[in-house]
Amino acid sequence: MISDKIYERLTGEKGYFDSRIIYVSETGPKVDKKKRLAVMDQDGYGVKYLTLGNELVLTPRFSPTSQQVTYMSYFKNLPRVYLLNIETGIQDLVGDFPGMTFAPRFSPDGKKIIMSFAQEGNSDIYTMDIKTRVVEKLTDHPSIDTSPSYSPDGSYITFNSDRSGFQQIYTMKSDGTNVKRISFGEGLYGTPVWSPRGDLIAFTKLYRNKFYIGVMRSDGSGERLLTENYYQEAPSWAPNGRVLVFYRETASDSSGRGGGAKLWSIDLTGYNERLIQTPTDASDPSWSGLLSGK
């Protein structure tokens, strides 16, 4: 794509224009929002809806290697992780779990889905191999372990746990060993997501009743907050690791009106914060890989 070539010439970095964003379109009143999966080009053009809105859908994530997405749906009032091919429309339940599965993401090779499974008040992290359907349990702790994300080489996982008493960010090897807490600042930390370059982890932070999107190195050092607001969360990296997309929600008034979610992007530098126009309110954005391959 020409724009990617220009970006590369100007910045010395790979571009990201030839990519898409999947997100959740939101309409209706706050107490009963209608949510649909939607996909668009990274600049906000060409929106296509993938579900009808009959059931609640949350947290779609692109496969880094194919036109598949994994997401959570309340189909038949059973909150479960699904796999959807956005070209064919073919949809599959991921795994045969007796309770809620949520917070799915692909492994960097696209072969596994990593997610949380909640049972008896305890959420742990599991993987499922998409082809063989083999399920592996990676954490075994009575706390909430969720929001897992692989390092780009697949050898580590970052996740969110409240095992210290409050939500903090941890890393572990991809076999579940060597668990290490990496966030030690004041406040709560959530939704860690590993940069496609491997050096940084982006996260959401709640501190003194404000929400921040920030980045830190994968050992927890060098924490840098990029943006502060009333509510924002769920950063997702552009394929070149230079830009983050996330959603921001405004407060509603005392009668419940006026609040709404929008997609925003921001450069890793903390500059160039930008609203991505969408036809409806929007949340839970996830960036695809480059469409033309590497």
Partner: protein, 160 residues
């Protein structure tokens, strides 16, 4: 005269700053520390039967049952034992001041706490299902401390 007015303005400004500081302090306490800020009122509450409230409330980021919650769940257990053909789903919820995925887990933990209390009070486990909505279905859509406290809840819903 002018100076008098200026003084008043200055005083008002100081008061505003002071109150502002207090409000910030309070908000911090309710979202990041172990406060006991579970809702204790009756707004939003419905009834499964006469005198049997349908929901219990939780403190921020907590899933421990308060004494008000165990009183309510005790009444629910008595009601369910008197109506042995009734089944219920316990819907667990969180307020909007948290990340979506963590809130899903928190809703499940809250609903399970209520479920375990009903079971320990003699309700058969196979009559109770748990369903977490995280922050997706607020009872009160406002963005303020009162609404958040009303939204940190587990609601018992009859399924038959």
């Amino acid at each position: 005269m002018l100076f008098k007015n200026l003084n008043k303005v200055a005083l008002a400004l100081v008061m505003t700053l002071f109150l502002g500081a207090c409000a910030t302090q309070q908000a911090t306490t309710t979202t990041t520390t172990k406060g006991d800020d579970a809702y204790t009122g009756t707004e939003t509450v419905k009834f499964l039967a006469d005198g049997v409230p349908d929901r219990v409330f939780f403190s921020t980021n907590k899933s421990e049952l308060t004494s008000a919650a165990t009183t309510t769940l005790g009444k629910q257990a008595t009601y369910l034992k008197a109506n042995p053909t009734l089944n219920v789903v316990l819907e667990g919820h969180a307020d909007e001041r948290g990340t979506r995925e963590y809130n899903l887990a928190l809703g499940e933990r809250r609903a399970t706490a209520a479920k375990n209390y009903l079971i320990s009070n003699g309700v058969a486990a196979n009559r109770i299902k748990v369903l977490s909505y995280g922050k997706e279905k607020p009872a009160n859509p406002a963005s303020n401390v009162l609404a958040w406290s009303q939204n940190r809840r587990t609601v018992t819903v009859k399924t038959n």
